[in-house]
Each structure stands twice: as C-alpha cells, then as structure tokens.
C-alpha cells in the first residue's frame, strides 16, 4: 500500500517535471530527422549501398520500408539512449538531495527501503515509457510513412531477408530486450545517485562507465577478452539477435527462428542480474546512509 502510494508520487513528480520531456523531445526530433533524410534521399542511399547486389540479383518490392527504417533508427539511437535514461534515473535521489527535499521526505513516516523501491520502480516505468515512445516513432511512424514489406538487413558479410509476416514479433522482442538493457543503465545511474548530492555526478559517471566498457568491448586484445563477458555493455546490443535467422539445409530461412536464442537469453539474464545487483546495492547503501545534504 505504502509502496504503490509512493510510486505514484514519484511518477507524478517525474512527469510533472519539464526536464523529463527533454528526452521525449530528443527522441522525436532525432527519429524525425532520420525519417526526413531517408524520405528525401533514402532511395539514392540504398541504391549505392546495394549496387553490388543488384548487379547479381533482381530485387523486387519496397526495400526502403518502415521495418528497415526502424532497424536503422534503433541502431543509431539505442547507443545514445542511455544518456536520456540517465537524465532521470541519475536524478532520482541525488536530485532530491540537492534541492533539500530528500531530508524533508525522510522526516515523513515512510521506510527507506520502500522509498528506494518506489523510486526505482518509477525510474523503470519512465524508461519503459521512453522506449515505447521510441517504438512508436521508429516503427509506428516509419511504417506509416514508408509502408511495410520484407526486410533486408545488410551486414558486412551477408544479407538477411526477413519476411514481412515474420518481422513484427521480432521488433516486439527487440524492444523488450532494449527495455532490459536500458533498465540496466537506469539501475546503474540510480545506484550512483544514492551516493551523490547533485545529479551531474551520477549522469556523468554512468556515461563514463558505459564509454569505458564499450571501448574495452571494441578492443580485440587478449587481456580484455576475459572480462568482456562480465561487462553489461557486452550484452546491451543483444536485441540484434532477434534479427538473425536460422536457415535449413537448403539455405532457406526458417520463419520464426532465432539463430542464437541461448546467447540472447544469456545476455538478457546477465543484464537482469546487473539490475537486481544495482537495486540491492542501492537499498543497502541508502538504508545506512547519513542524510547530510
């Protein structure tokens, strides 16, 4: 009862704060710009990219369609979304400390554990809504503008074709995975927020950690190969796995299949463990914390 009441208050504060809508505006703006760019020059761009393929094959149908657009947008935007998630999650406790409301809240008859849980839930719901907003723009609006057809994904060594009736569930699964990935970022920022007395620190630290981990991921050095599987950033792009399809012995794609489902599930599991770990650590630290702000 107390938990749901406080979660409601936290959500009310998040969605009444004008700063919250920066993230929503940025997503709409960036997606809109990408869509505008492809709407005007997309065909030329794809023609150039597919030149080697069209020399050999006849390609029919609408290659530049809403599904492909959504994939391009997700690849571009999901890398930058952690910053937008951190803006709110990193502010949940440190922001209250900096304006002096944290001590005011804690003079009311609520338990610290409940407050942390409620704030974390509210940050999670914000992340979820932000991802849904992104899904609406990147998939919903793209399909509306560019239409729907089979989806061609160009990779460095191969091209994957996904039939149009096999795409939508993959996007739903991919967005589900992206929610877990962004919740991991949110939980990291939230955890750092417990220590800080202004929100700049947690946001900057979260981004620094993600940048450093991402650099480690990209370096193909033996010393880093041992730790890569344990870095949450190694698993954040696991959503792409939903667009890798298995093929049968005739090299035909198997509708509804995922090439490496155990790998995708393992990545999701590791991310969930990170979320639970950061939440647990936040509760423990906050319960013992002296409120000096």
């Amino acid at each position: 009862m107390q938990y749901s009441r406080i979660t409601y208050i936290e959500l009310y504060k998040i969605f009444r704060n004008p700063r919250t809508y920066i993230a929503f505006s940025v997503v709409a703006l960036v997606v809109g710009l990408i869509q505008l760019g492809f709407y005007t020059d997309g065909e030329t761009y794809l023609e150039f990219g597919l030149r080697s393929l069209t020399d050999t094959f006849d390609l029919h149908g609408k290659i530049l369609n809403g599904y492909l657009m959504a994939y391009i947008i997700l690849q571009t935007l999901l890398v930058n979304l952690p910053l937008l998630v951190s803006l709110v999650a990193g502010d949940m406790i440190s922001g209250e400390a900096s304006i002096g409301t944290l001590r005011l809240i804690l003079t009311k008859p609520i338990s610290r554990n409940t407050l942390v849980m409620a704030k974390f839930t509210a940050a999670g719901i914000y992340t979820l809504v932000l991802l849904l907003w992104m899904a609406f723009w990147s998939l919903g609006i793209s399909v509306l503008i560019f239409g729907a057809d089979d989806m061609l994904i160009l990779k460095s060594d191969m091209i994957t074709q996904i039939l149009s009736n096999d795409v939508l569930w993959r996007y739903i699964a991919a967005f589900g995975f992206a929610i877990i990935a962004m919740l991991t970022v949110a939980s990291l920022s939230f955890f750092l927020s417990v220590f800080a007395e202004n929100s700049i620190g947690p946001i900057m630290t979260s981004m620094s950690i993600i940048i450093v981990f991402t650099i480690i991921n990209t370096l193909d050095l033996p010393i880093f190969n041992h730790i890569k599987p344990y870095l949450f950033t190694s698993h954040m792009l696991g959503w792409k796995g939903f667009f890798d399809i298995r093929v049968n012995e005739n090299n035909e794609q198997i509708v509804g299949s995922i090439e490496n489902l155990p790998g995708v599930l393992t990545s999701a599991g590791i991310l969930i463990l990170h979320i639970l770990g950061f939440l647990w650590a936040s509760i423990v630290v906050f319960k013992r914390k002296d409120i000096l702000s």
Binding site: R103, L104, T107, K108, P109, I110
Partner: protein, 303 residues
C-alpha cells in the same frame, strides 16, 4: 516529555560532531536550541529525526525509541531541516499534496488552503515555487512540516537567510503554533535574540557539547541589563572599574569590548562614575542579554 536524548554522540571519522549530549523537551513548550555555526545543532536534529545514525546514545520521542518506532514517531512529528528548495516546477498546493501523500494522508484542497492560510500563503497558493522568495519557501516548508497535524514540530534554522520582516513572520508563526495550536516546537538558531523572544526553555551547545540547559527565565536575570560601553580607551576604563565597587559588574572575557551587567537603575551612576574618573565616554548601549550570556558561556568553553 516529548523528547528525551541521552548521551548522544556522533563521530564522523576522527571528528566528533556531537559529544555525550543529553537533554529533554517537555510537551507544549517552545524549546530553543542554540549554538554557533558548526556547534552540532543540525547534526543533533538530524539524529532526532533519524536522518543520521548516532554513534552512541539513545533518542526517545513520545516515550519510544526512534530506532525501533521510527514511523510511529515521525507520524506525530513535523520537521523542516534547514532551507528546503522544494519542487520549484510545482505550485504550493501540489507541493503540499505530495508531502501529505508521503505522510500517508490525502488532504482535500480546502484542507491544504487552510494550512497555507496559517502560514500566510493562501493568496500565492497557485504560484509555482520558483517564483517564491526565500521567506515564502520557509513558510511553505513550515506548512509542509505541519501537514500531518503533528504534536511536535522541529525547525532547524527557520529564519536563516530571511529579511527582518521574514524573521518577524516566522517568529509570530512559531508563537502562534505554540500558544494557539498547543504544539511543542523545537527551534534551532544561531540568532540568539530570536530564541530569547520565543523560547520557554533552551539548550546551548558549543563544539558538540552541552553548555547549559534550562528555562530562559531562570537563565537570565530580568532585573539586570547587559551594557556595552564604548570609550576612548577600553583597557583603561576596565582597569578603573575593576578597582572600584563596579568590579563585580564586569562581564565577559572580550578584550576589545567593555561589557558590564548592572541593575537598570544604576546606569546613570555608572556613566557618572566613568566620566568623573576621566574616562572618555563615547557611548553606552544595551546588548541583548541572552547574546551576551551566550558569548560569555561559549568563550569560556572555547579552545
């Protein structure tokens, strides 16, 4: 008894902020908590409110321990700790709603307006807090402290940063809460003259240690007055007085100020004595008696 603090100590690493502090606050009184900046007032108040965990000692409010009955105690307590900025993007009503919900209450708009009227903010209730002056924020902070109709209200430096009118408003508000609403009020301040005007009892601390505790009327001698005498040569004037019948009137350890405590009827005799003995008298002014008392106490305990 609403607050009972025993042997309270708080250490931050090797620094002891509060040292074996014991005091009690009776129901219905205004209790002044005095000390210079850094004396340990805010740390003590934060421990009472369970914002900070004590290193040693016990705290009981309403006869229950803050460590074991925190939520019960806080349901009967309202507090404003230093200057809260509140949620600037919301108006006073929404701020009040949020904090009433944190307290488990669901106040109607009428209830909120009534509470805002108590602190004189009803006409600005719909304005966003970012448009408020510091004094208005302080008053809203007090309204939020009172949102659950508490028996005990704890205000940490409520007049800090306010202009004279704001200080007067807060003082009148505290007196009203005590006299009309029958609340127990604990007020911390380093503005000693403020506490003298509103407190029934007081505690003076310095460097985390208790200096004195008692009723303000007992601690001060109403028949006497503290005077600060300004002369052309204070050292010489002090020598003259110390070798006269006025020697016992000399007060305080300050070298650059000449402070005496005399009966009000003897002020004229004192000034005549100084002039007759060739002291170049520039002026005599009364100093706040509690302030002088406080300075003498804290300077005695300093270093």
């Amino acid at each position: 008894m609403h607050i009972q603090v025993d042997q309270l100590t708080k250490e931050f690493g090797s620094f002891t902020s509060v040292h074996n502090l014991s005091f009690s606050v009776n129901a219905g009184e205004v209790y002044g908590f005095l000390g210079q900046n850094g004396a340990g007032k805010s740390t003590t108040i934060r421990m009472i409110l369970s914002l900070i965990k004590p290193t040693h000692g016990s705290i009981k409010l309403f006869g229950k321990s803050i460590q074991t009955d925190r939520e019960y105690i806080l349901s009967r307590t309202g507090a404003m700790v230093e200057k809260p900025d509140l949620y600037k993007y919301l108006n006073a009503i929404d701020n009040m709603k949020i904090f009433s919900k944190y307290g488990g209450l669901s106040l109607s708009r009428e209830d909120i307006m009534n509470q805002l009227a108590v602190v004189g903010l009803e006409s600005r209730a719909h304005d966003k807090v970012k448009k408020y002056s510091q004094g208005m924020k302080q008053r809203l902070g007090i309204a939020i402290a009172m949102v659950n109709n508490p028996d005990l209200i704890i205000l940490d430096e409520p007049t800090n940063g306010l202009d004279p009118q704001g200080i007067t408003d807060i003082r009148n508000l505290i007196l009203m809460l005590s006299r009309e609403k029958k609340k127990t009020v604990v007020v911390s301040s380093h503005l000693l003259s403020e506490v003298e005007q509103i407190a029934d009892s007081m505690l003076i601390i310095n460097k985390g240690k208790k200096i004195v505790e008692g009723r303000v009327s007992d601690l001060l001698n109403p028949g006497k007055i503290q005077l600060e005498i300004e002369t052309l040569n204070n050292e010489e004037a002090k020598l003259i007085l110390s070798s006269s019948a006025w020697a016992n009137s000399l007060n305080g350890n300050s070298m650059d100020k000449l402070i005496v405590e005399v009966n009000r009827t003897n002020i004229q005799d004192l000034s005549k004595y100084l002039v007759d003995h060739g002291v170049g008298l520039i002026g005599i002014k009364s100093v706040n008696s509690l302030e002088a008392y406080f300075l003498s106490l804290t300077s005695d305990h300093a270093v």
